[in-house]
Symmetry: C2
Subunit: 523 residues, 2 copies
Amino acid sequence: MSINGKNLLGNEESSTGEHHFNAVDPASGEQLDITFTEATEEEVDLAVQKAEQAFPVYPKLPNKQRADFLEAIAFELLESGDELIKRCMSETALPQARLNGERIRTVNQLKLFASVIREGSWVNARIDTAQPDRTPVPKPDIRQMQQPLGAVGIFGASNFPLAFSVAGGDTASALAAGCPVVVKAHPLHPGTSELVGRAILKAANDTGMPEGVFSLVQGTSVDVGMAIVTHPLITAIGFTGSFKGGKAIFDAANQRKVPIPVFAEMGSTNPVFILPGAISERGDSIASGLANSVNLGVGQFCTNPGLLISQHSESSEKLVADLAATLSEQSGGTMLSSGIKNSFDSGIAEISETFGVAKLTPGRESSGNTVSGTLFSTDEETFLSNPSLAEEVFGPSSVHVSASSKVKLLEIARSLEGHLTATIHGTEADLEEYAELVVILERKAGRLIFNGYPTGVEVCHSMVHGGPFPATTAPQSTSVGTLAIHRFTRPVCYQDFPHSSLPDELKDENPLGIHRMVDGDWE
Amino acid sequence: MSINGKNLLGNEESSTGEHHFNAVDPASGEQLDITFTEATEEEVDLAVQKAEQAFPVYPKLPNKQRADFLEAIAFELLESGDELIKRCMSETALPQARLNGERIRTVNQLKLFASVIREGSWVNARIDTAQPDRTPVPKPDIRQMQQPLGAVGIFGASNFPLAFSVAGGDTASALAAGCPVVVKAHPLHPGTSELVGRAILKAANDTGMPEGVFSLVQGTSVDVGMAIVTHPLITAIGFTGSFKGGKAIFDAANQRKVPIPVFAEMGSTNPVFILPGAISERGDSIASGLANSVNLGVGQFCTNPGLLISQHSESSEKLVADLAATLSEQSGGTMLSSGIKNSFDSGIAEISETFGVAKLTPGRESSGNTVSGTLFSTDEETFLSNPSLAEEVFGPSSVHVSASSKVKLLEIARSLEGHLTATIHGTEADLEEYAELVVILERKAGRLIFNGYPTGVEVCHSMVHGGPFPATTAPQSTSVGTLAIHRFTRPVCYQDFPHSSLPDELKDENPLGIHRMVDGDWE
């Protein structure tokens, strides 16, 4: 497949707009070939209209056929071979091994969602059978299942050009739910996006999907995204990115005539509590584990550990010194763009200038968009009186807070806003003594990790990649794992419907053989 | 128990405010005894602070003990005997039989939620076991369940003083989820609210619940409600009432520093499509069924059928004429308040004045707050060009729209906004011919009814009492039935946690014996 810089509106290629842009190689700073054309409002409208036209057809196709579609996307992503990886490397400066791994994750993610819809029980079917003789009023027959919302708008993410973005978790879960998708490509990797978009369209055509089930629009301005968010036929939004971007979309969606749900994952600092027993037992390995986690993907992970909390002790001081030393030794990496690099520099500068905060890693000469891991240290008073220290600096940076006592450590925990993850390093004895910490952190994050590191998000049935605001705008959901499918559905019940008009999922004979609740019992 | 007009802040009674009000008997227009004191901002704050203090304790109590609490509330509601019903009759003008029935429904609703939490599977536990040998990276152990959000604010509803309001569906589901509740009593039935609030507090104390698990605040001004909605420690809102009220709460909640979910059920006109076969087969019985449904509870039901659509034919004309005749014969009823009566009168006047709309029922002399069933008729052009005809007039009123063809009938269906329910009267042959109508209505409502009437909402596992905006602000949820519990929870997952720190729901040995998904399979 080749890239031509056009918007993919269903099977129609279009580039009627006047705004053009090229991708930039973040390593060299040079413009890449292929000029992309920003989608016009009319093009966005056409994409959404096509999605709306596909909607009555697409979710009613047999589960097997829709599962085949998702698996065909996985196949096409593998078929795209080196061409995809090379373009992605040049647009993101991410190393080949990482991108190959990310593609495999994406392929497996699509296959996992395919298996979920092929099996079919995800619709949470519930049946309450009639009791015509009940007094004082007969009990009707009521049957309920999850149904898809309609056309969904999805925003590409800069930091996961394959595992999120065009064919990633948001798209996979929306397509699995039965929703046509209009993706706004991330402008940092438009060519990667187009290649993946073409793979999806080929898969759609090969498996007999209705046109409009997928469209891809390009653009650098916020207008393109807002045209999707405010389009009356869009029924939900998936987003992974900055707080500023996610919050603006959330606000615009709520101010629509008909508000729609926004599933914005806006990142967090992912606090890591290192308890005394763990420090004594294996302070060294925690220091090296944290260094790897801070630096992973040049710190450009939503689950990057940006906040470390421990109680003051000699061994705690040593752990922090070890971590600073390791970060100082490890080589830097190239960030995704000069914009992200500049934001990182500003964030580092702001923290450095905060009274009471010490920078423990040396400033190093950097060339182009290269940065290296940075560690700060502060005390509880400084931290508690400077809320901005708990905010995310996107990149390889972390702030260590030294608590003078258990009471203060718990106070720090209580002061936290919502995060995607919260981690505790401890022994079993630590956990017993700090049982209250678990109770506090359960309210602060979607995922609690014990003796591990927050980076690395397993795609499975029990994953929660979400958390209270400001980590997300939708704490009741996850954007990774099979439960993500429910973001794009709502329950519908059918009262006294004849079997001929009921979905297969709700028929007495259970033709799909799915797991259902009947009269309160799971069968 | 006796009423003293004070706010119930946990176990503390308080009336420090300067604003006072009395309930009014809607039948006589006379003030009732007992003066109520509107809660101050400080009193609301105290109620919420107590709820927050109860939160770490309450959801961690054994399921059995919390189930006992809900059942004890049911017991206390029955114990409140005639005193409760009499006060409620005088505050609402609803007849004794209706209120006795509503109390039984409320009691059964509490018992149903008690059974759900006693059984325990509602938390949707999912376990993915570790694969330490997986390459390239080991798979961690991840376990997930629903956890409660925190303190919840609930607004009493005027039209269901028992089944909603203080101990109704919202409170029962929030308490079942593990959330302490602060209820804003509806000012039309403050005495009923206080009696029910006292019943809940007695049950809480009898079953050893922490203080603050329930509070009740009174007031007529919006300030009291907004003090709850904007309180930083409130984590979600349950509301049943007008579009104006629900939308204002939704907007305020989204503009908070930390936005919170608002589950506002704002009513709808519940379109009823009467297809040709059904009219021929049993037009008479449909007319009489509709008359009863329109007049039920003096039309003050969220599911009142306010919109009837059929294709023009002689038998369709006859059905409409029969319905008008029946409504004209049936005696009127007293509305819940003079304010509601005045709104009804204005709504009727507005429709009456719409060019192209005919009023088919005579204006009747009414005394006090008495109104009688009203039917309008119009054609498709008038309906499609006057969107306000599809809006709810709270009370016993319905608009019949005559479609000139099947195509036009489907166009009317497509033009609809979100509703709580949509009903189809038809034969099996009708359903076959109008299969597209089902597909359209699936997107318009939370509950589809076949050959029935929308009034009467079964409290069961498969009920969806919800629907797309503007019927609700949260189309992905229900406010009636056991699924309502999920409004007040969010998923939390635990990665590599030692068993000693895991909730019982997630331990290997499954001590609660609940239904769980393990490695993708339901056990």
